[in-house]
Structure formats: structure tokens, C-alpha cells
């Protein structure tokens, strides 16, 4: 590897690290947005997340050297300190991601239930008004 290639790789690794941390931060934000039904914040955050995760994929590809050019010598351009930090940031992001995935599943179900309620109410049926309406069982197909 040339010296320029080494420098380039180090810069990319630094950007990668920054993005891991930013995406983790964004995930914390979006989970709060969901909890508080802040729809606009949710949408904006997801848009940012999409951009960041796409860039991370590209960088990951560019940073990993081709397997064919493996060298028996230890680090060809990688800073051991950087490796450690990327590892730690990556682990933290994965942990948040699992929580995010779980929250999305639970919340998606809530949204699905509410959504079917509202579409079933689109003037399709009549109901009685008056007292004790709350205590009636009703159903609709999901």
C-alpha cells in the first residue's frame, strides 16, 4: 500500500467512526420521538438515518482491503487505537439497533391496530350512540 492509500484509509476510518457515533445518537433520538408520538421528528430522524447508514455501507466496503492482498505483517495502515474505537462504537450501535428493532415491532403493531380501527370506521358501519357505549364489544377484521 502506498503512503497516500494509507492516509486515505485512515481518513475514511475516522469518518466511519464519526458516522457510527452519529447514527447511534440519532437512534436514541428517534426512540424518544416514537415514545412521544413526535411524528415530524420521527420522519426527519429516519431520513437522516437512511443517509448515514448508506454512507456507512459504502465506507465499510472501501476500508476493508481486498482479501487477496493480505499481508502477513500486522497493520497495513490501520491504527490500533482507531480499530478499538470503531469496535466499541460498532458494538454500542448494534445494541441500540436491537432495541430499535424491538420498539419498531411493538409500535408497528400499535399503528396497525389503530390503522385498522380507523379504516374500519370509514363510514362503513353505524353504531349506537348513548351511554355505556364503552362497554360494548365490537370487532373488525384485521
Amino acid at each position: 500500500m502506498t503512503a497516500i492509500a494509507v492516509q486515505d484509509r485512515k481518513a475514511k476510518a475516522a469518518e466511519y467512526l464519526e458516522l457510527l457515533r452519529s447514527l447511534a445518537s440519532e437512534m436514541e433520538k428517534v426512540m424518544q420521538a416514537i415514545a412521544h408520538n413526535a411524528l415530524l421528528d420521527l420522519e426527519e430522524s429516519v431520513a437522516s438515518q437512511q443517509i448515514m447508514s448508506a454512507r456507512l455501507l459504502v465506507l465499510a466496503d472501501e476500508i476493508s482491503p481486498s482479501l487477496k492482498s493480505n499481508s502477513a505483517v500486522s497493520p497495513a495502515g490501520a491504527d490500533a487505537d482507531m480499530v478499538q474505537q470503531v469496535q466499541a462504537a460498532g458494538d454500542a450501535l448494534q445494541k441500540l439497533n436491537r432495541r430499535y428493532a424491538a420498539l419498531l415491532q411493538h409500535s408497528s403493531r400499535s399503528v396497525a391496530l389503530m390503522s385498522s380501527l380507523f379504516s374500519s370506521y370509514k363510514g362503513q358501519f353505524k353504531e349506537a350512540s348513548g351511554p355505556r357505549l364503552k362497554h360494548q364489544t365490537w370487532s373488525c377484521q384485521m
Binding site: 353504531e127 377484521q141 384485521m142
Partner: protein
């Protein structure tokens, strides 16, 4: 398929079941506008029995009606999620405790296994050195002790969870009695009050009950009918039905209905479901793995001993004992040798030979009958414990956020605009679909070995 009835969505108790149901539900989202859904399927029960004060309006939708059903739906979800979260919380706190026995504390099995292995390597290079021989014996003692400690830790966590069961059942019975009473009171409430504070108290009690166990709530003319996930009645009208507990053959508590039938396996949610899961499934699973390892390891090592001769000229005697009974092999494993001279070092019977040390060492790197080496078998157990603890904690936190969301929704809107609400829900769905793609991408990043040229992968 049944309707969007609260009864339908019960059975969503244990976390695994919840996952399955959630998957099924999210598949069903596409069926929201399925043809075949007709007005006739929407049932409003007991309508004909109302007196003439009820008017059936023609056409149009009253927002009041939608609002109250929306709230009811939210209430149902809050109860279900409370059930799930309490189960997850209960499991999580138990597993946090359990996993400390599998951390690198110095007295854990991994550390002891490592020291035992090293002592054998040292013996290989210094086979006639009494200090090296003593080192193997001492390391063997520490390894047995590590097994004992870990097994005892698991057992005591199991006992703690088990002891919660009768307590929780008492609390459940107190609540069902209260709900039955409130159902009776509800019948006395003037119709115009729409339930009033009695309804609020009822909702409160039901939510507390949901936190203790998974339930199904059905609105009837006589108040709320409450059953367990499998349909065992808990409250019908103003009558409640007590649950009981009885100790099973292994000392583990079983939950019985008022007729004495064992309904333990139907309890999958709430604090009770969490305690039962920990005591009856999760910890027994870990213990089985641990006991199997202890038993197979001892057997294999003793066989390697028997293949050689000790310093007294005798065939190697059993190094470990106490693993005859698989159900407590790890709690009982101990070192049977009383002197370093009993270690079977020689393979040719000569006083200076060390040929059998290689056989002893090989036990640590060879596959046990289970198919894995001792180290890998233990590593697998560590992974299972860590994953279980991590998942319970993750679920608990995520469900907590979802509950916050549901509570916020319940308290927020006083008048519902259907079109706006529908549009918002669509935006949520769209955002969530995009978000799940982000989740997948991040998972891919985590799985790929990011080789930054260090020669070691992530």
C-alpha cells in the same frame, strides 16, 4: 379468523409468543381492507336489549363513538404491553443476577478451566516436580469449586423466582376479587355517568392485573369478563375465581385454577409469567447445560487418569467425583484425589515417564459426547446466558418506550379527526418501513467483518 376482539390478542404472553404474534400481525396489516370484511361482521353486542333511550342513528359516524373505542383499544394495548413488560422485567432482573456467575470474576468457570489447563501444560514440562503436581490438584479443586458456585447461583435464582409465585398469585386473587366487586358496583351506576369513577377504578385494577399475568378482557352486559390466556375464568360479572398454587414434584410451584387444574403453562405474561418462565424453563435450561458439561468433563478426565499410572505405581484413580447424578453434577463435583502423587502422569509405568499428561491435557481440547470441547461447551452456555439477559433487557426497554407512546396517545386527543388520524398512521407506517431498512443495514454492518488491515476481524 376472529375479529379485532381483545380476546383474540391474548395468548400474546411470553416474549417468543409475542414475537410470533407480532410477526403475524404485521403480516395482517395488508389485510386491513380485505374484501370479505362487511358491515355485518361488525358486532355490537347486546344492542337489542337496550331500552328505548338508545337511538340508532342513520348514516355517518359519531366521533364520540370512535373516540371511546379508540380509547378502549389503547387501553387493551396498554394492558397487553404492561403484561409483556412486566414479564420481561422480571426475567431481566433475574438474568442480570444469574449472569454475574458467568462473568470473568476470577472464580468463574472460564478462569478456573484456564488455570486447570495451564497446570497440566506446566506438568508436561515438569512432570517429576512436586510443585507442578500439586498445582494440578489445586487447580482441579478450584475448577470444581467454580462449578459448584455457578450451579448454586443458578439454583438460588431459580428458588427466588419460584418463591415469588405464591405471592403473586395472592395479589392476583386480591385484584380479581376487587374487580368482581367493581363489576357489581358498575351495574348500580346511573347510565348517564358513563361508568364514572367506578369505571376508572376498574380500568386501574384491570391494568394492575395485566401487569401480574396475561389476561383476556371481554366487555359484557354484566361488566368485564376476565379470563387467563387459555380461557380459565378469573372474573365473571360480580364473581371472582381464585387461583391456587401447589408445589410440584421438583419443588417448583404450579398454578392451579379454582378446580385444581394445572394451568401453569398458560401463564405466559406479567410478573407471574416471568417468574414461572425463569423458574421452570430458563434456569433449568442453563442448569442442564452446566450439569451435562460437569458430568461429561469429569467422566472424560477420569478416563484419561485411568489410562496412566501414578507416582505410586498404581493405575490412575478417578480425579473427580460427585457427578453420578446428572441433575446436580455441577453442584456436587469435587476432587476425589487426596494426594498429588495420585495424578496419573506416566503412560509406560516408569517413574520418570510423562506420557499420560498428554492424555489428561487432551481432555480439554477434545470433543465431549455432547460434541463440543469443554471450553466450547462452556462458551456456548455463556453466550446463551448473555443473550437471554440482553434480550430481556432490550425488550423491557423497548416495550417501555412503546408504553410511553400508548399512554401519551391515550391522554392526548380529545376529539378525533378520522382523516387526519388515518393520514398520520400512514406516515407512521411509511416511516417505520424506512426505519426497518435502516435496522437491516446496521445489522449487515455488524455481521460483516470490517477488516481494517489489522489481521484480526471484528
Amino acid at each position: 379468523m376472529g375479529g379485532l376482539n381483545t380476546a383474540l390478542l391474548i395468548g400474546i404472553g411470553g416474549l417468543d409468543a409475542a414475537q410470533g404474534a407480532l410477526d403475524a400481525t404485521s403480516n395482517n396489516i395488508a389485510n386491513v381492507n380485505t374484501p370479505g370484511y362487511t358491515r355485518e361482521e361488525a358486532q355490537l353486542s347486546e344492542l337489542p336489549e337496550y331500552d328505548s333511550a338508545n337511538q340508532i342513528t342513520g348514516g355517518g359516524v359519531t366521533l364520540d363513538g370512535l373516540q371511546s373505542i379508540r380509547d378502549e383499544l389503547l387501553n387493551m394495548q396498554i394492558n397487553q404491553q404492561t403484561s409483556l413488560q412486566n414479564a420481561a422485567d422480571t426475567e431481566s432482573s433475574s438474568l442480570q443476577q444469574v449472569q454475574t456467575y458467568f462473568s470473568s470474576t476470577g472464580t468463574d468457570i472460564a478462569t478456573a478451566l484456564s488455570a486447570f489447563s495451564s497446570s497440566l501444560v506446566e506438568l508436561s514440562g515438569n512432570s517429576n516436580n512436586s510443585a507442578a503436581q500439586q498445582g494440578v490438584l489445586a487447580a482441579g479443586h478450584n475448577l470444581a469449586a467454580a462449578f459448584n458456585t455457578t450451579a448454586n447461583g443458578l439454583t438460588s435464582a431459580q428458588t427466588a423466582a419460584n418463591e415469588q409465585v405464591p405471592d403473586t398469585v395472592s395479589q392476583i386473587n386480591a385484584l380479581t376479587q376487587q374487580i368482581a366487586q367493581l363489576n357489581g358496583q358498575l351495574a348500580q351506576v346511573p347510565a348517564a355517568d358513563n361508568g364514572g369513577t367506578t369505571q376508572d377504578q376498574l380500568d386501574q385494577a384491570v391494568q394492575q392485573l395485566a401487569g401480574l399475568t396475561n389476561i383476556s378482557v371481554t366487555q359484557t352486559n354484566n361488566g368485564e369478563t376476565i379470563t387467563t390466556g387459555s380461557g380459565t375464568p378469573l372474573v365473571i360479572g360480580n364473581q371472582s375465581f381464585n387461583l391456587q398454587t401447589a408445589a410440584g414434584p421438583g419443588g417448583l410451584e404450579e398454578v392451579l385454577d379454582s378446580n385444581g387444574n394445572n394451568i401453569t403453562s398458560a401463564i405466559t405474561g406479567g410478573t407471574l409469567g416471568g417468574s414461572l418462565s425463569i423458574a421452570n424453563q430458563v434456569i433449568p435450561g442453563f442448569l442442564t447445560q452446566l450439569n451435562t458439561l460437569a458430568s461429561q468433563f469429569a467422566t472424560a478426565f477420569n478416563a484419561a487418569q485411568a489410562a496412566g499410572t501414578d507416582s505410586n505405581g498404581n493405575q490412575g484413580a478417578a480425579f473427580f467425583s460427585g457427578t453420578g447424578n446428572l441433575s446436580n453434577a455441577a453442584a456436587n463435583i469435587s476432587v476425589a484425589l487426596t494426594s498429588p502423587s495420585q495424578i496419573a502422569i506416566s503412560s509406560d509405568g516408569s517413574a520418570g515417564g510423562n506420557g499420560n499428561v498428554a492424555n489428561l491435557s487432551a481432555v480439554l481440547t477434545s470433543a465431549l459426547p455432547s460434541g463440543q470441547s469443554p471450553a466450547n461447551a462452556y462458551a456456548g452456555l455463556v453466550f446463551n446466558v448473555g443473550t437471554a439477559a440482553s434480550n430481556a433487557s432490550t425488550q423491557s426497554t423497548a416495550i417501555g418506550d412503546n408504553l410511553t407512546q400508548l399512554n401519551n396517545l391515550q391522554g392526548s386527543v380529545s376529539a378525533v379527526n378520522i382523516d387526519e388520524e388515518t393520514a398520520n398512521l400512514l406516515r407512521y407506517q411509511t416511516a417505520y418501513e424506512a426505519a426497518s431498512r435502516v435496522v437491516s443495514t446496521v445489522q449487515v454492518l455488524g455481521n460483516a467483518a470490517l477488516n481494517m488491515g489489522s489481521g484480526t476481524s471484528f
